[in-house]
Each structure stands twice: as structure tokens, then as C-alpha cells.
């Protein structure tokens, strides 16, 4: 093999290993490749090009955590689609909103302060499912009180579920473990949160301490939370800018 082909092969291997990596120590071969990535410009360039070409994006690179990748763009073959994992939760617009809020809350609950997102902050947290639900309910209660004080109309017209505010949907959904007939609820907020946390654990972003109960964050999740908070804050800014331009 020529030197170029060898570099390309190593780059491909590194991308493959990074895609399969979950939380935990890197294998020896993987750690060696990451070390070379950080040290050798040719391999770095080749890997970056491979990542770009496959429709991926590099979120974070470090010797200890390796390369953390996510999909770039909506048509990337590596994209995770929530509809694949939550077929019943994504049928209606209100349910999709509930799911999106549960996901955002799952990230935020483990990194509730700005300094938690900083790379130098190495503190990780353990959280129970109820902690996540309670966090959303607390914020929702505050928003509700504010809206009522402002005399806002909160009930959307019946034919326009799009206009319902997210917090009202969350407040209207039960968080009890069991329904009135003693069966496990399917669409309670608690169940949605559990499934979000399980999916995050499956992606190697969380560690499962007690399945369905307690989870612990990882450094990988910190990098992803940074991304999410950044992009959400950005859309917020963009929305405001849009409102202001006529």
C-alpha cells in the first residue's frame, strides 16, 4: 500500500472505531490511533476529510475520550431519527413536542449550570428519572404562573394543536407510574423520560446505574450537551432576529 492509501485506511478505521465507541476506556489500538490523530497532521487531515465526506461532524476530540462524532445535516446516513425509536410518540405534534422537551430536559438535568458545560469542569452527576420530570414541572409551573399573571390565553383552538404551548402539554400529561386501572402508563411523562434516558445510555452518553431509575452523566454527554445548548440558544437568537425583521 502506498503511504496515502495507508493513511486513508487508518482514517477510515478511526472513524469506524469512533462510531462504535461508547463510554469507557478506549481499546489500545483505538487510543493509539487517537494519539496519532492528535499528533500527525496528514492523518488528521485524512480523518477530517473522511468525517466530512461521510456526512459526519466532529464534536470533540481528546486523547482520553477519542473522537466524538455526530451526524451533519438532515440527509446524513448516520442520522439518528427519533421516529425510529419512538414510533408512537411521534404521531401527533403535541407528542413530538413532549418528546423533544423530554430529551432537552434529559441533557439539562445533568448539566444544569453554565459552568457544568465547560470542558475544564470534570464533575459528573447522578440523576433519578423523577429529578428530570420534576425539573420540567418546576420550570413549567413558573411559566404557567407568569402567563396567568399576564392574562394570556393558554387553551389553543381545538383545530390548531400547533398553538398549544409546550409547558401546558407537559403539565396536562400525568407523571404517575401506574394508571387508574393499575397498568403501566404508556405515554406518561415519566415513561417518556425513561425511554429518552435509555436511548442516551444506549448511545454511550449516560451510564445506567439502575435501569429505569438512576443514570449518571459522562464526559461524552458533556460535549453533546454543550452542542445542544449552543444550538438551542442560537435558534433562540435567530427567532428573535426573525421577529424583528419585518
Amino acid at each position: 500500500m502506498s503511504a496515502v492509501a495507508e493513511t486513508s485506511a487508518d482514517a477510515g478505521l478511526l472513524v469506524r472505531m469512533s462510531l462504535n465507541a461508547r463510554s469507557g476506556p478506549l481499546s489500545e489500538e483505538h487510543a493509539a490511533l487517537v494519539g496519532r490523530y492528535l499528533a500527525e497532521p496528514p492523518l488528521r487531515a485524512a480523518t477530517d476529510a473522511t468525517i466530512d465526506g461521510l456526512g459526519l461532524r466532529l464534536v470533540h476530540a481528546s486523547q482520553q475520550g477519542g473522537l466524538l462524532l455526530t451526524s451533519a445535516g438532515l440527509d446524513s446516513p448516520f442520522r439518528m431519527r427519533l421516529a425510529d425509536f419512538f414510533p408512537r410518540q411521534t404521531t401527533g405534534v403535541q407528542r413530538r413536542m413532549l418528546l423533544a422537551c423530554a430529551m432537552v430536559a434529559s441533557f439539562v438535568a445533568f448539566f444544569p449550570r453554565p459552568e457544568d458545560l465547560e470542558d475544564t469542569n470534570e464533575r459528573l452527576r447522578r440523576r433519578d428519572v423523577d429529578d428530570v420530570d420534576r425539573l420540567v414541572r418546576d420550570v413549567s409551573a413558573r411559566l404557567d404562573a407568569e402567563a396567568r399573571a399576564a392574562g394570556e390565553e393558554l387553551d389553543p383552538p381545538i383545530d390548531e394543536p400547533d398553538l398549544a404551548r409546550a409547558w401546558t402539554v407537559w403539565r396536562q400529561t400525568s407523571n404517575s407510574k401506574k394508571g387508574a386501572d393499575g397498568r403501566e402508563r404508556e405515554v406518561g411523562t415519566r415513561q417518556v423520560v425513561v425511554r429518552c434516558l435509555d436511548l442516551l445510555a444506549e448511545q454511550g452518553l449516560l451510564r445506567t446505574i439502575v435501569k429505569g431509575e438512576t443514570y449518571a452523566s459522562t464526559r461524552r454527554m458533556q460535549a453533546m450537551a454543550r452542542e445542544l445548548v449552543g444550538s438551542l440558544a442560537w435558534t433562540q437568537v435567530a427567532d428573535v432576529a426573525e421577529e424583528q425583521t419585518p
Binding site: 462510531l19 476506556p25 448516520f78 441533557f107 439539562v108 420540567v136 404551548r165 409547558w167 450537551a225 444550538s231
Partner: protein, 512 residues
């Protein structure tokens, strides 16, 4: 470490009573917050609805927990959550021997969660003009962290401070003091107290290590933001000096104990080996720290030469709860799809798998194409016959009919008749035609004016298995007179008996 607030102004000595706030009081009150946190945990236990927490006392367990975590700490690793929990559970078992292992583990888990949880506490600082400033300080004693993919607990510098019963002591001086105390006690031959002093000294060395660890991270960050000078940062060089000093003193102390052993009494030998063990531990820790700092310096310089780490601008992040989550919850549900897309990007990548169950459904649910404006092209249809070709030619059927016509009032076996057929196909046709004459509606036929009918009846001894076949006979249907009626009844009886049979004689065989 952040013991001294950087905003602190050089304060005047507390001159007159009530003249100004004492800056040292403020600092010590902050150090007290950490001790107070342990009290809060005890209060939380008492308030808790959880019956299982009742028999235990939290403050002692907290101290044990911090101790267990601190002594296992080195630069790279420490006690895992499970190890710390086992240690605390063992202490809990001593407090409440009647409890079950499950209860002990439960209280240990609860306690670790409390120790790692953070709480904001208030303290009074001295402002620039000597006035009181309320400040909020975030207090937590232990924290969980990840290094090289492995998770472990670490004790904060301030938490260890609580253990050694000190308020806001500078580590360097504290260690000097501990060593001086140790030296003094050894010289006086008070080996039991010397052991306790050595324990303090060990805790100070752990505190110091935690501080160096923070400094190393700080240095790393400085490097990224290109503030790194060509020498090691001043804090790290000060640390290096401190370590060299400690190593020297610790070796001298060991020699001192050696010489003191000669004069030691029987009782002292319970303490001397333990003291030496502690000193060895400190010595080990300091030596490895020295090595790490020296190596770190080389690594940093080397990495800087390679220019790998891009200068990073420090970003100010939006507040995750107050800004981001609040904003998300305030949105209308119409924004759901845009949100889901953003969330999906934060889930990371996953290599596409072939046909997961839902991907399969996607494939099946592909929408049909909409018809084109002018209709579709008409396909040339190739027609295929929709049934089997006829079994018999008309001549074969006619030949078979002629054979049946020949049957007279004399009974003839179907097999005999079939033998006269020209080929097996004709014989088959004959058999099928003959079947039509089994149990005919004689009454109806008679009503239609037919006076002669062909009857097919089973041959004698036909058991429907061996299939000897049918007998064919032509009967005359006469006007109803007695004889004829009897004849007709005979014929009907024959036909009924035949119809009662369920078995179908194998005609082909019979024909053959």
C-alpha cells in the same frame, strides 16, 4: 486553590472593635459552610420520610465516606462509587448491627448522593470599602468524575479540610505545622500522639495533591489559550519547591523515628510502625507528584511546539435551565419538528444498520406514484388461456355415447364396455358419461315422456374399495300398471341403494 478570594483587598488589622469587618472571619465562615453541610445532611436524614434512614447517624458516616474517598485518591484515579458505598455500609453496620445489609447499603447510597449534591450557601465577604457583601458559595464535598473512561469519586480540598479539623489553613503552612508537631512529639517520645500528627500530615499531603491536580488542569487550559510562558507556571514551580522540601523533611523524620526507637518503651511499638507507614505513604505520594509535574512540564512544552492545540476562545454558555429549557418549554407545539431535529443531532451518530424493524416498515410504506397528467401508457397485454384444454375430443365423446347407446336390457359391466373403446381417453370419457346414469330421476324422466332409461348400478359384491365397477342396463319405463310399477319401483330401489353409497368407485380403474 481558591482559598483566598481574588477580589480581597489587603485589609487593615482589626483595629478598633466594630471598626471594620474582619476579612479572616469572612474566609473562615466560608470554610465553615463545608462543616455545616454535614449538619444539613443530618437534618435532611431526620426530616426524611424514609424509615430506613432512621437508625443511623449521618455526621459520622459522612466523615467516614470522605475519609474512604480521600485515602484512595491519587492523581489519576480514586475510589469508585461502589467501593465508597461498601465502606460506608460497613460503618453503617457498626452503627446499627440489627439492620440488614440491604438497609446499610441503602443508607450508604443515600449518603453518597447527599455528599455529591451541591447546595448554594451564603456567606459574608468584605467589600472593597469594608462593607459586608453577601456572596453565594456552591458547596459539595465529594464529586464523581471520569478519567480515561473510568469513573471514580474525589473529595474536594475543602472536604478534607473538614476532616483535619482545620478552618481555612494554607496547605503549605499546615503541612509545615503538622511536621513540626510530629518532630516535636517524636523527640519527646510521645509516639501515640505522633501517630495522630502523622495522620494529619497525610491528609495535608492529599489536599496538596488535589491542589496540584487543579493546577495542572489550569496549566493545560492556559496552554490552550496561549498564555503559557516558556517556563512552567509559577504555581507549579512553587509546588515543585514544596514537594522537594517535603521529601527532605519526611526522610529526616523517618531517621528521627529510627533513632527514637532505641529509647522507646514496649507500648510505643504499637504506634511506631503505623507512623512509619503513614510517612512512607506521604513520601510515595510526593515523589510521584514530583515526577508528574516534571513530566507535565515537558509534555506541555512539547505540545506547544507542535502547535496542536488550537487557541480556544472561552465561550459564555447560555444558562441550561433558566434560558434553554425555559425557552424550549415556552415554545408552541408547532416548533416541535425543528426541535426534534436539533435534539437528533445531539444524540450522536449511529452507523446505519440494514433493515431494522422500523426501517423495514419505512420501505413498505413507500407512497405509490401519483398518476401522470395524461394517464399512463397502456401496456400491451398478453393473454393466456384461463383454463386447461379439454380432456376429450368431440369424436371421443361421440364414440363413448355410441357405446352407451348399444347397451340393451341385458346388463353389461362398465369394464366390458370400456374394453371396446378405442383408446384409454375414450374409455375415460365413457366412464364419465356412464356416471351420469347413476340414480337418474326416473319419475321426472317418466313425466317427460321418456320410456327407456339407462341405469348404472354397482356390480354385485362392489365394496367401493376394490372397485369392480358398474353394471349398465337399459330399463323400459312403461305406463303405470301393476307390473310396470313394480318394475319402476325395482329400478328406483336399485337407484336409491346406489345413491345411498358414499364411496365413489374409481371409474378410471373400472374403465381400465
Amino acid at each position: 486553590m481558591s482559598q483566598v478570594p481574588s477580589t480581597a483587598v489587603p485589609v487593615s488589622l482589626p483595629s478598633a472593635l466594630g471598626g471594620a469587618l474582619d476579612e479572616a472571619v469572612g474566609r473562615r465562615s466560608r470554610a465553615l459552610l463545608y462543616a455545616a453541610r454535614i449538619g444539613h445532611i443530618e437534618e435532611a436524614r431526620q426530616r426524611s420520610q424514609d424509615e430506613r434512614l432512621r437508625p443511623y447517624r449521618a455526621p459520622e458516616l459522612c466523615l467516614h465516606a470522605i475519609d474512604a474517598v480521600a485515602v484512595r485518591m491519587d492523581l489519576e484515579s480514586g475510589a469508585t462509587w461502589e467501593q465508597a458505598r461498601a465502606e460506608v455500609a460497613a460503618q453503617a453496620a457498626r452503627q446499627h448491627p440489627a439492620g440488614s445489609d440491604d438497609d446499610h447499603r441503602h443508607v450508604a447510597e443515600w449518603l453518597l448522593r447527599q455528599l455529591t449534591d451541591e447546595q448554594d450557601a451564603q456567606w459574608l465577604d468584605v467589600g472593597a470599602d469594608g462593607s459586608a457583601v453577601h456572596r453565594t458559595h456552591r458547596v459539595f464535598l465529594l464529586y464523581e468524575t471520569e478519567q480515561s473512561g473510568l469513573h471514580h469519586l474525589r473529595a474536594r480540598d475543602q472536604a478534607i479540610n473538614v476532616l483535619v479539623d482545620a478552618l481555612d489553613l494554607d496547605i503549605d503552612s499546615a503541612q509545615h505545622a503538622a511536621e513540626a508537631r510530629l518532630e516535636h512529639l517524636i523527640k519527646r517520645g510521645r509516639h501515640d500522639d505522633a501517630y495522630l500528627a502523622a495522620r494529619d500530615s497525610r491528609m495535608q499531603s492529599i489536599r496538596f495533591m488535589e491542589q496540584v491536580r487543579d493546577d495542572l488542569r489550569e496549566a493545560e487550559r492556559d496552554l490552550r489559550s496561549e498564555h503559557w510562558s516558556s517556563t512552567v507556571s509559577p504555581r507549579l514551580s512553587a509546588a515543585l519547591d514544596h514537594i522537594v522540601d517535603r521529601i527532605r523533611v519526611e526522610e529526616r523524620l523517618k531517621q528521627l523515628i529510627d533513632s527514637a526507637t532505641d529509647r522507646a518503651e514496649e507500648d510505643d511499638f504499637r504506634w511506631i510502625p503505623r507512623t512509619i507507614e503513614l510517612l512512607d505513604e506521604c513520601l510515595d505520594r510526593h515523589q510521584s507528584l514530583q515526577q508528574v509535574i516534571a513530566e507535565a512540564r515537558d509534555t506541555f512544552l512539547l505540545e506547544q511546539q507542535r502547535q496542536h492545540l488550537q487557541p480556544r476562545t472561552r465561550r459564555a454558555y447560555a444558562h441550561p435551565v433558566n434560558d434553554v429549557l425555559t425557552d424550549v418549554l415556552a415554545r408552541q407545539c408547532g416548533a416541535a419538528d425543528a426541535l426534534v431535529e436539533l435534539v437528533e443531532l445531539a444524540l450522536g451518530a449511529r452507523a446505519p444498520r440494514l433493515l431494522s424493524e422500523w426501517a423495514g416498515i419505512d420501505l413498505l410504506a413507500v407512497e405509490p406514484h401519483a398518476p401522470a397528467e395524461h394517464g399512463r401508457e397502456v401496456a400491451a397485454v398478453e393473454l393466456t388461456p384461463d383454463r386447461e384444454p379439454l380432456l376429450f375430443t368431440s369424436s371421443q365423446v361421440a364414440a363413448a355415447g355410441a357405446l352407451l347407446e348399444q347397451v340393451g336390457s341385458e346388463p353389461v359391466a362398465l369394464a366390458t364396455l370400456a374394453a371396446r373403446a378405442e383408446d384409454p381417453a375414450a374409455a375415460h370419457a365413457l366412464a364419465l358419461l356412464a356416471l351420469a346414469h347413476r340414480s337418474p330421476e326416473l319419475g321426472t324422466l317418466h313425466g317427460q315422456g321418456i320410456r327407456s332409461a339407462l341405469l348404472a348400478v354397482p356390480a354385485d359384491g362392489d365394496d367401493a374399495l376394490t372397485s369392480p365397477g358398474l353394471l349398465l342396463q337399459r330399463v323400459e319405463l312403461t305406463e303405470p300398471d301393476a307390473d310396470a310399477e313394480a318394475d319402476a319401483r325395482d329400478a328406483e330401489r336399485l337407484a336409491d341403494a346406489d345413491a345411498a353409497r358414499t364411496g365413489e368407485p374409481d371409474l378410471v380403474e373400472a374403465a381400465a
